[in-house]
């Protein structure tokens, strides 16, 4: 999310290291200092009720 608008939704692929997953996306234009990038990563597992998530925010500048 960039300033509360979704800019990307992606599935992370296995990164070649145990338990690590990777992906990439493009950030759009940043208009002013201190805009916020909000990344939410979720995980689920087939055939179990295991779900997990974490959220992190980043500072953006033009």
């Amino acid at each position: 999310m960039h300033n509360s608008h979704q800019i990307a939704s992606l599935n992370l692929d296995f990164a070649g290291r145990t338990n690590v997953f990777r992906g990439s996306f493009e950030l759009g234009a940043v208009e002013k200092n201190y805009e916020v990038l909000d990344i939410l990563v979720t995980a689920s597992q087939q055939n179990t009720a295991n779900y997990g998530a974490t959220r992190r925010t980043y500072k953006l500048i033009p």
């Binding site: 992606l10 992370l12 990164a15 338990n19 690590v20 997953f21 990777r22 992906g23 990439s24 996306f25 493009e26 950030l27 759009g28 234009a29 940043v30 990038l37 990344i39 990563v41 979720t42 995980a43 597992q45 179990t48 009720a49 295991n50 779900y51 997990g52 998530a53 974490t54 992190r56 980043y58 500072k59 953006l60 500048i61 033009p62």
Partner: protein
């Protein structure tokens, strides 16, 4: 005055589709309260190893077999003085080293004076994953139109 009989109780916290939640992820907090009065009967941490993988995941487990009660496997064990059969509520929370991934579970049961709960003990299951953003680092600042490489770690509790 009624005599109090020390009663040993074990509690274990299990991760769904995985092993015991051990010290590697901070262990779990365990509390045992009287279900009627709310009195705190015991509290502490489950710390130790995550258990014997082969034994935990063996395809067939017979009645009365234990899966988790092996040397070094994490457990919360306490001794509660009881004068009468007591309804209790057991709360567990963990993994404590990862608050964002921490989960809770609760069960109710009875404790009977002198009837120790040993072996695997009361086993409560937690569901979930520990999810961490590995990259970008939290202090990074991005500019317009940057390409962002995202890397996440996902593991069982």
């Amino acid at each position: 005055m009624e005599s109090q009989i020390p009663t040993r109780v074990r509690v274990r916290v299990l991760s769904c589709d995985a092993k015991i939640v051990g010290s590697l992820v901070g262990g779990c907090r365990v509390t045992i309260r009287n279900r009627d009065s709310g009195e705190l009967l015991a509290a502490g941490l489950q710390l130790g190893g995550s258990g014997d993988t082969e034994r935990i995941f063996q395809p067939s487990v017979g009645r009365f077999d234990t899966r988790f009660d092996t040397p070094g496997t994490a457990v919360f064990e306490t001794e509660i003085p009881l004068s009468a059969p007591t309804p209790v509520v057991i709360d567990v929370e963990g993994p404590l080293a990862y608050p964002a991934s921490s989960q809770k579970a609760t069960m109710t049961t009875w404790l009977i004076p002198g009837e120790h709960v040993l072996g695997d003990g009361f086993v409560l299951k937690l569901f979930g994953f520990i999810v961490e953003v590995l990259q970008p680092f939290s202090v990074e600042v991005f500019q317009s139109n940057a390409g962002i490489e995202l890397e996440a770690g996902v593991r069982l509790l």
